[in-house]
Amino acid sequence: MNSIRAILLLIFFITPLKANTIYNLIKIPNLEIYEINTQNKLKYFYAERPFRLGTQKNIVCSNPDKKDLEIKYKTIHKNLSRYSYNYLKKINLKYIVMCENLSISELYTAGIPDNIMKTLILDIKFNEDYFERVIHHEVFHIIHLQHKEVFNEEEWIKFNNSKFKYAECSTCTKNIGLDKYDKTKGFFTEYSKSTASEDMAEVYSHMIFLKKNDINQIRKLDPILNNKISYIESKIKQIDTSFIF
């Protein structure tokens, strides 16, 4: 036991020192500050060099092109500026990491939320058509992770037609389309049908992204989505009474 302890200590003391504040705060290497003086106190970082994360180093992302970054930062900032400092504090989101070609175990993804580290990693090149809405989709995942007790998936599943079943996981289905259905029938997009959590995130992101009139119209025409929208609305109010969709 003592020898194991001694070896661990030795490894510990010969590990090179990473005296990087960003790394110390969110444990992601190779990041630089993009903007930290924002009204809602969100801090934006970008990958200066590619980075790998996770115990298996299976999360990978590359450094973005500076011009792309400049354009996408404006879009991300505009969308996230609608969240107040108090709201962000309640959902535990503080750091935005911008990079390119984000993947987990070689599966490309739009974002990776980490509520413990208060961080959302965003792929600035993911799906240009739905980029803005996807930002809010990923924000919902942070909310969900932070307030797991608030969102009851069993309750959510009951909103659907009794014959409907979600897939086992968000990556074990081919239902990944993000186009909004013309006839919704309980789901905003094909991707909504992947898992309850993704369905919630799709509803949330549409509630943020669509105009109030469009949402009201959907509520009138689609009783399932009406229930889902009411559910998300009430749960978000539970987290922050002052939040307005």
Binding site: L9, I14, A19, I22, L25, I36, K41, K43, K94
Partner: protein
């Protein structure tokens, strides 16, 4: 008959050179050995403070570090910090985490006490007072010399550990509970023992004493 041998000029030069080398080596050894040689030690008795009740004096191996506490910014954090200072809890506690020119951290009352250091656990120790809530909403510029309460990755886990930064850290604002700022003696902290290859220190320096001025 013994013939007196005169040293040649070159031999005289070598002798003088060796003597100078010896003196220089001795001088350098003395200077290096005394890491505190050029560090000014501030005596709080010779300084007038605007708010003497909020002044704390930390005595480290190279002298005094004079800190002003900010109860208006973090009332609960400062209250906890003061409580531990007044109870002499920080005496003989290690500066267990030191990053050259970046920060010094101390205050592990459980595993960082002189004589009973636990290298396997240092940094994870607690006081017996429990954790307190983070106070990060008020504006505070984390400039060189700022003092904050350390915590785990989660908020509201501040206890007895604190850090003092040796360079500006704007990202610390809103992240850590600020409790004060060093007014005098930052050079003392720059002399705290550090290691280039690790944040955690083998055979660390210790806080000699930490007291409130009044």
């Amino acid at each position: 008959m013994i013939k007196k041998i005169e040293a040649s000029l070159s031999e005289k030069f070598i002798l003088i050179f060796l003597m100078l080398l010896g003196i220089t080596t001795l001088g350098i050894y003395i200077v290096l050995k005394n890491q505190c040689l050029f560090v000014k030690n501030f005596d709080p008795k010779n300084i007038t403070f605007e708010k003497p009740n909020n002044i704390a004096i930390l005595n480290a191996p190279c002298g005094n570090v004079i800190i002003e506490l900010y109860p208006n910014i973090s009332p609960n954090g400062v209250e906890r910090f003061k409580k531990l200072i007044i109870s002499n809890a920080y005496e003989d506690i290690a500066f267990h985490r030191v990053i050259e020119n970046k920060l010094v951290q101390a205050g592990d009352l459980e595993f960082g006490k002189k004589g009973s250091l636990d290298y396997g656990k240092i940094g994870a120790g607690k006081s017996e007072l429990g954790t307190i809530k983070s106070e990060t909403d008020n504006r505070f510029n984390y400039v060189r010399g700022s003092v904050g309460l350390a915590r785990t990755f989660k908020n509201d886990t501040e206890d007895s550990q604190f850090f003092i930064i040796l360079q500006d850290e704007p990202l610390f604002e809103g992240e850590y509970t600020p409790v004060g700022k060093v007014l005098y003696g930052l050079e003392v902290l720059e002399k705290i023992k550090y290691q280039r290859n690790s944040e955690y220190i083998l055979r660390p320096d210790f806080i000699n004493s930490f007291k409130m001025l009044n």
